[in-house]
Amino acid sequence: MAGPPTILHADLDAFYASVEQLLDPSLRGLPIAVGGGIVLAASYEAKRFGVASGMPASCARQLCPTLRFVGGHFAEYQRLADLVMAVLDDFTPLVQRISIDEAFLDVTGSVHLFGDGGTIADRIRTRVRAEIGLPISVGVATTKHLAKVASQVAKPDGLVVVEPGTEAEFLAPLPVHLLWGVGPVTEAKLASRGIATIGQLAGSEEGWLRSLLGQAVGTKMSHLASNRDHRSVKPGGRASSVGAQSGFGRTLATAELLRAVLGHLADRVGGRLRVAGRGGRTVTVRVRLAKLGTSSRSITRSRTLDQPVAATRTLADVAETLVLGALADHPDWPEVSLLAISVSNLVAVSGIQLELETTDRASSDPTRPGSATGSARWAVDHSVDAVRAKFGRAAVGYAGVTLSEYGSVPDEFRELAER
């Protein structure tokens, strides 16, 4: 691993909560949470009490009785995050924004202008604090994955540089959940084999990890733990998938619930695909099955279509069939606590190639965008999109989606988080 560390991961601290504290100085230094029935984001003061995002409000109040809930200033989130990204752009054209509040930078070509990776990181932190007023943590390393780990270690409001040659030493004592892609399930699996730190993971044999975690995950974990990561920083990289998810309390998976939730998710995913002028061939759903007194389990199902789709109704239909199939395979689990739709295999779609009605099976398939049904859906979607572009999301939508009670989290917030 030659060369100085020039990959940066910049991540705004407790972003939504920090923005609220910035906008209302009376909230500064106080434990606050953005949200209503559920914690969408918590300030560091609140996190110290154990308050975490996704937590029901009642639970959070028990942990932290002085917790203050505040509403969300969605437009401000986007505006301020964009300002921060503009600061990053001043240091290198190689900025890859991976969510509203974090980005990778490759400053290899900028060091002769601004100084080494650590110096640039320091200047970014100073400028973001001075010009925008938000705390940002930065990790500096030789790979993207390590830079991200470093920024997590740097939090809150800190800077960590991992010097070349010290990577293994740096990673060894850290908990495995800091690795990209290690969620609670993988963490539990590793813990059951006595693996808690990245050092222990790196010391494990790759073949054994693959048999424990599955081929893909095992290989990836083994590589990351020993800092093998060849991904480059891709500026302006378009997303390779578009997705939306919705978590809720354990709920009986009735047809009505599925239709309402999946309709809502398809509406968001389809709308975003269409705004971006894209469509995708692969529709993937994730279902989290829940049962009282047992840990939940997640199932993923996908279907790859002949042609890229972005139509709301088509996405909802395909997703519903997939979810029903997954549920039918697990009759012992009648309840769900999360549903997600994502669309991948994305391509540009600027119109739909209409089809002749040749009366064979395929020409009447409504998932084909060029069929009579597909064409009608396209027209409806474009009318809805046009009205929304003028009057906002809530102005118009599919009956049963807009009218449903479901969804305690405002769509504007979801849009920010998923963008």
């Binding site: 002949d306 119109g351 089809e355 002749l356």
Partner: protein, 358 residues
């Protein structure tokens, strides 16, 4: 000559080594001074006969790609093939190759169709193939649409193909190749190969059976299995009339579409704006740029814009004959019909791309 024969027959041999590995080979059978070269994947068979200097009759099956590559690479001049025990020796100039053959005992027995033959003018038939096969589907999930329909019409033979985005119809008047009202569905892939074999001049002999069809050009015979199934009722897909008719110079149109297409990236359509005495062709690709070009044209009807997939449009214009082509349209969502002006024997129908605002 042998290289060409091996290459041509090899195109019918399968690239996959599935249940019958021997199908990845070409069979060579020597009978006197006649060497017959055969390749087949059981659906499509191509057999050629070439004149050689034979010494001892016999047969062998060689890996198709390998045999073709070897013979093609040899210096011009005589090639010698010698079969001994388990090996085939190929030599030419001062080069020597030894190749392990595939088992000739495993090679399938191929029946030649025995139905009565029709003779067609090869040049005209070849042109018809090129005009129609382009509209056939290559999607194996829609098997019926991968075929070209041969049907008997009152005044001759008709060929039809559609991939559900376009539809091509060609009439060969005066050709009575089929029994009354007989319809057969010939795989487009086989006809695509046939189009490569059909040169100018010579006659083409066609045999259409119940399950197979064969075509002979010179010393080459192509046999194909027919597709079983009901071809869509294409007549109802062709609009009876069109309110708008554009007439434009064929070559100028082709050149213009090809130029504008450079800016129609990532499946972006080209837009044809018709009205007055000009045709304006344009394309916009988001984040890349745009292109437009104007052509002199004759137009009768109501001004309109229709968008098309540029490749489908080019394929259609190319297939039309004559100096001018006509494009008949209704609106941005209904099928459009391309024809060569004064060419009543061919039509190419294509569906537009629906774009915002249409």
């Amino acid at each position: 000559m042998l290289a060409d024969a091996l290459g041509t027959a090899g195109r019918a041999a399968t690239g996959r080594t599935g249940a019958l590995p021997v199908l990845s080979g070409v069979r060579l059978v020597l009978d006197g001074n006649q060497l017959s070269v055969t390749g087949t994947d059981l659906d499509l068979t191509i057999q050629l006969t070439v004149e050689v200097g034979g010494e001892a009759d016999g047969g062998v099956v060689l890996p198709a790609r390998l045999a073709s590559d070897i013979v093609r690479s040899l210096p011009a001049g005589k090639v010698e093939l010698e079969v001994s025990d388990d090996n085939v020796h190929v030599s030419g100039g001062r080069s020597q190759f030894t190749v392990r053959p595939l088992s000739i005992d495993d090679y399938p027995k191929l029946a030649a169709p025995t139905t009565s033959a029709t003779t067609l003018p090869a040049a005209e038939f070849g042109e018809a193939l090129r005009q129609v096969v382009r509209a056939a589907s290559t999607d194996d999930a829609r098997p019926i649409l991968t075929g070209v329909l041969f049907s008997a019409e009152e005044d001759g033979l008709r060929m039809v193909a559609t991939d559900s985005y376009r539809l091509a119809v060609r009439d060969l008047p005066g050709q009575q190749a089929l029994a009354n009202a007989q319809r057969v569905l010939v795989p487009g892939r086989a006809l695509g190969e046939l189009a490569r074999l059909v040169g100018g001049g010579a006659d083409l002999v066609m045999r259409l059976g119940d399950r197979d069809a064969s075509f002979e050009v010179g010393s080459t015979r192509l046999t194909t299995r027919l597709i079983d199934g009901e071809f869509p009722n294409y007549r109802q897909l062709i609009p009876a009339d069109h309110p708008n008719l554009l007439t434009v110079e064929r070559d100028a149109l082709l050149d213009a579409i090809r130029r504008v297409k450079i800016l129609a990236r990532e499946s972006t359509p080209v837009r044809l704006a018709m009205g007055g005495e000009t045709l304006r062709i344009s394309a916009i690709t988001q984040d890349v740029g745009n292109a437009s070009e104007e052509l002199d044209a004759e137009f009768r009807g109501t001004d309109l814009v229709v968008a098309f997939n540029p490749d489908y449009l080019i394929a259609g214009v190319e297939a039309c004959t004559g100096e001018h082509v006509t494009l008949a349209t209704r609106d941005g969502m209904k099928p459009a019909v391309l024809r060569g002006q004064d060419a009543a024997d061919y039509l190419y129908l294509l569906m537009p791309v629906r774009v915002p605002g249409s």
